[in-house]
Amino acid sequence: MTPNGAFAVGFVLIALAASNPGPRGLALLGALVLAFALIELRGATVIALRRAAVVVLPLAVFMGLVWVGFVGKAPYQIASATAGTRDAALAYVATLSGRLFLIVVVAQLVVLRFRALTPLQLIRALALPASAKRVLVVTLSLIATLRHAIDRAHTALIAAGTLTRAASLRNLLHGWRLMQAVWLSAITIMLGRMRDKWPVENTIARLDRALASGEARPFAGADRIWLPVVLGAGLLILLADRVGGAP
């Protein structure tokens, strides 16, 4: 399977999860995602499920708190101005959390499918314009740079007595200075790279060569099986709750 095929399959699966399928459709979609995971990732499926749980579980608790605990009605009951129940609110939050869980699982599966590749190799294999690939590579590199900049600026502002380690009013008042220091630090780093480091090391030209080398095949191999399967199953998922009466 190529990264392009995996991203296309992932896009279709996520669009299906977002299309608000009914219970039958959601069950079919879950089975399809599981089949994709087990065939394409095998053992790594557990990692994707665990990561998705870490992202969605706190979200589900938060939504439960707001909708079951506070509002006590499901949105459709509010929309139709009927008497609401906490059970209906709970069912609504559970369904929505299930859809979100599937979305995060699919995103994780697509990324984990190519865990053996470095981010640079993965981006190189995508059928995207060269400038889009360059932006993605530099964005990933800059997120790491910003993380270092945050650590440095945070330590410096604590040493200067502007911020404190523990939560405090001082941190609230001067928090924007941390943002300013991080921004200036990132700009300085980038100015240094663009003016001195990159021209000397010929980085941009080398990056372009690295991104251009190797063929970025749009779809090949297992893509040609998965894409029709997912599109066909997608049609079934969309129709599952519209035909055959209520489940």
């Binding site: 977002a18 608000n20 938060f62 360059r134 993605l136 800059l142 300013q180 700009i187």
Partner: protein
């Protein structure tokens, strides 16, 4: 249009959106702060509104691509990001001169921050409401869900609760974002801005 320094700016804007937006999302504040990089990108390219729009849009979508792994709600607000980039290019770029004036004149500075923040806030609220209501039934994972819940509890219809929540949250959030972007813009070294605006060799 997409010179190397501008591609770097897009990446910087995306990284800024991702870093601050993720922190705010995880602590469930009733604001977002996930477009500071988008607004700043537009400001740094003033007065070229066309470049400001396309680069701000690219920064917003690049951060969506990365943030989607942490916040599964975000990709559905892709159109809101386009609207924010457009208003930033049309309105905020016009205030760039006042934002960078030295010494700073507090009156015009505050007025422009409020005006630009309100414009972006109202537009983003209007564009986001259909997504919030039809796709998620008013439920999103951000702290603004509390505000929707408050309006629902007070007897509002779902659509009007989501709209009112948006009109309460978004302008406050966007005024704060424009303020932070303006402060970062003031602090940005002039030679970096010259590099972005100057005739650098275009890359393919």
């Amino acid at each position: 249009m997409f010179t190397t320094p501008r591609l770097i700016l897009i990446a910087l804007g995306a990284a800024l959106n991702f870093s601050i937006g993720t922190i705010v999302y995880l602590v469930k504040l009733p604001i977002y702060l996930d477009s500071i990089g988008t607004i700043l990108t537009a400001l740094l390219l003033a007065p070229d509104r066309m470049a400001a729009f396309f680069c701000a849009w690219a920064a917003a979508w690049a951060s969506l691509a990365v943030s989607g792994l942490v916040n599964p709600f975000l990709p559905w607000f892709a159109l809101t990001d386009v609207a924010i980039a457009l208003v930033a290019a049309l309105v905020v770029v016009g205030a760039a001169k006042i934002f960078r004036e030295r010494p700073r004149r507090s009156g015009p500075f505050v007025a422009q921050v409020a005006l630009c923040g309100l414009a972006i806030g109202i537009v983003s609220a209007v564009v986001s409401v259909p997504v919030v209501v039809y796709l998620f039934g008013g439920v999103t994972g951000s702290g603004s869900a509390f505000v929707v819940a408050l309006f629902l509890k007070s007897g509002q219809h779902l659509m009007s609760a989501a709209m009112l929540s948006g009109l309460v949250n978004d302008p406050i959030d966007k005024v704060l974002q424009v303020l932070l972007a303006a402060l970062l813009y003031r602090a940005t070294p002039g030679d970096f801005i010259a590099m972005l605006r100057g005739p650098a060799p275009a890359i393919r």
